[in-house]
């Protein structure tokens, strides 16, 4: 974006920087250690390993949906939308509300599927409109402000949404009904839960749809143009404000889908879920290369996998260290490869 070239982007490399060689050695050492850890765990108990992996990928699909929202917004206005995780949290609450209050469905039935689909549509509309409103009311006014201002605003928004969640859901965890079929398929000792299949069945088409919107449609082209050069996009007749609003809408919709899927597969809601999962999803976005949509998906699945393995295998650090493991990955990537696995160099953006 030509109108926001930060001085930092053109700043020289610091002298504190490890030599390129040292950095590479460090990176490969870490990769090798991760690989060794995977192999040891696999050989130790393949079934446990694979079960953990399947569970992880299922989570990863949700992370991918949330990560996409971060990535889309970052790609277009270079804002880390802290409130995005909390939007997802509101999505889980709204889904639970629709399914219980409106349908009162408890068991799997034809009505359950209807409830599920209606909830899907409504939660998409709900989250999309909240996200667009936040952009309209807060971020838009700060588009030319120093970078700290929108970032702090996003943090503030996150707290406001958490407040809504707190009032809505109460301060404790609440269990929510699932209308999806329960059960699992046993594949040689590896359990594949039905919910996992449903997550994939919803997530994959939605990711396809996203890709189609961004690459093929008029709006998608305008989005990419706006992300690359706002002024040039204006000169093409693109209404940049509307495009940014649309992007927030799509990001919100994806958070809504993720919210419903989480509510249905995990079955519980908490008001502070957004912070925790949002940060994990953000790490996923960074891991994949923030701004890159396939990167967000890849990052989501990888983080889910890492989390699943960390919590599920014998030599894993266990759930109580999950947050630390995820953040260590975030920090390592920020320091060694800020462009992520599939990201484009920020320099090109200037």
């Amino acid at each position: 974006m030509a109108q926001s070239p930060t001085a930092a982007a053109s700043l020289p490399k610091s002298r504190l920087r490890l030599s390129a060689y040292g950095e590479r050695v460090a990176a490969y050492t870490i990769l090798a250690a991760v690989f060794a850890w995977l192999v040891v765990n696999f050989l130790d108990n393949p079934q446990q390993f694979l079960s953990a992996a399947v569970f992880g990928i299922s989570n990863g699909a949700l992370y991918a949906l949330i990560a996409l929202g971060y990535s889309l917004v970052y790609g277009i206005i270079e804002l880390i939308n802290f409130a995005h995780g909390d939007l997802f949290m509101l999505g889980t609450l709204f889904s639970g509300f629709i399914i219980t209050v409106v349908f009162g469905s408890k068991a799997m039935s034809a009505m359950g599927w209807v409830a599920f689909l209606v909830a899907l549509v409504l939660v998409i509309l709900f989250c999309a409109s909240i996200n667009m409103s936040i952009e309209f009311l807060a971020y838009r006014r700060l588009r030319h402000a120093p970078k700290l201002a929108p970032l702090i605003t996003a943090v503030g928004m996150s707290f406001v949404l958490q407040f809504v969640g707190l009032k809505w859901n109460g301060s404790t965890q609440k269990s929510q009904p699932s209308v999806l079929p329960q059960g699992y398929i046993d594949l040689g000792g590896v359990r594949i839960y039905t919910s996992f299949l449903i997550v994939l069945a919803v997530t994959i088409p939605i990711l396809g749809l996203m890709t189609w919107i961004v690459t093929k449609t008029r709006m998608g082209k305008a989005m990419r143009a706006t992300a690359q050069d706002q002024d040039a996009a204006r000169l093409m007749g693109v209404n940049v404000n509307r495009i940014i609003s649309f992007t927030f809408g799509i990001g919100g919709a994806l958070a809504g889908v993720a919210g419903l899927m989480y509510e249905q597969t995990v079955g519980t809601t908490r008001y502070d879920l957004g912070l925790q999962l949002g940060l994990i999803a953000f790490t996923a976005a960074v891991l994949g290369g923030i701004g890159s949509l396939p990167g967000a998906v890849l990052g989501g699945v990888l983080i889910g996998l890492i989390q699943g393995l960390n919590e599920g295998v014998r030599y894993g650090a266990g759930q109580r260290w999950t947050q630390s493991v995820v953040f260590s990955i975030l920090i390592l990537f920020m320091v060694f490869k800020p462009t992520g696995l599939m990201g484009v160099s920020m320099r090109e953006k200037v």
Partner: protein
Amino acid sequence: MAQPNFAVPVPQRPQNVDRTKRSWPIGFAIAAVVIFIFYSFILPYLTPDIRTVVQHWMPLGTINTALIWAMSALGLNIVVGYAGLLDLGYVAFWALGGYAAAWLMSYFVPVSAINILGNAAPGTKTGLHLNILLVLIGAAAFCALFGVIIGAPTLRLRSDYLALVTLGFGEIIPQIFKNGDDFFGHNISNGTQSIGPIDAVEGVTARTTVVAGVAQHTDVGWGDLLAFDHSGRFIMFTLLTALIIFISLRIRQGRLGRAWLAIREDELAASAMGVPLMRAKLAAYAVGAVAGGICGVAYALQLNRMLPDPFTFSVSITLLAMVVLGGMGNVWGVLVGALLIAWFNSTGLPEIGDTVNGTFGTNIDFPSYSFLIFGGTLVIMMLFRREGLLPERRTRLVLHEGAAGDTQAEEPDEELVDQAGAVK
């Protein structure tokens, strides 16, 4: 340049700078003395009605807690307000300082008791027992070191990435303490069991003898500060806060403070003027962390034990709200912002809630509104009064420009146009 230069009379520094320089510290000192005298010598002799009101709305313990928050907020102000580096994990330094105190002045460290001018409780067989001054220095140094360790690999990141990495450290470090009963097989923090009690500190005690509900006389002495000796802790915390304020103000006037301001204003120009960016930024982290460390020690003393649970992300955000509300970069503004929010958080909001509920017969859970209040504060301040309630004199100027800046497009950055053209 056209005119030859005649000897220009050396201009005087503007007077108002000096005036604000003096009035705030004097006000702070007077307030401290008044509070001490009031709570130690006046309050116990007032009628029970008044005492109840004061104990409800503004107990001395709350003031002490507010001072602890203020210390951290002032430290964060050095990082965010002075140097312009957003730190979303400042809570880590608070925790590190607190645990440093817990290690240095309790039974916890598994060695036979080592007492260095310390004040070990009778019968304590193990642990380090250092004098509080040594503990403060130790905790400050420990946090400064961590400030550099955290800062070194992260400071070359873009500002928003930097915020996230600090957030990451802010989550990891408390989690290490939380799971610290088994950190690679070692017990470093007792985990959620907490470390305590911590050695009492000696200080001024002002104890009032009460007979049948009537205060008789107040004795001022020197001795171990017990749980109810709020006056002594008040003196100590006031002095520590004053120390941090003093450091903040002094450092701002000096070479380093100028470098931070310059970096905040324009990194590229600062580096072209010979300011070493990385060293200056690391110094900001280290000095900011020192304040966090001192705050952690104070917290450990106030609580008499150290436990990992309070160190959450929302602490970092509350601190940020204090800095933003008070006015980033203005020490006195941040002090006021911190005291205000801390009071509001711990006493004000529940009390207002009780009053409202009592008056109108409602049943609203006011403390649960703190999320809305802090989040809302951040958003509203950013949208409408970015420079805070008591802005720094410098940033107040920005306000006078008003909306003029918004209608004008930004200046094209020729510096980068050349490059952009080449990249594409």
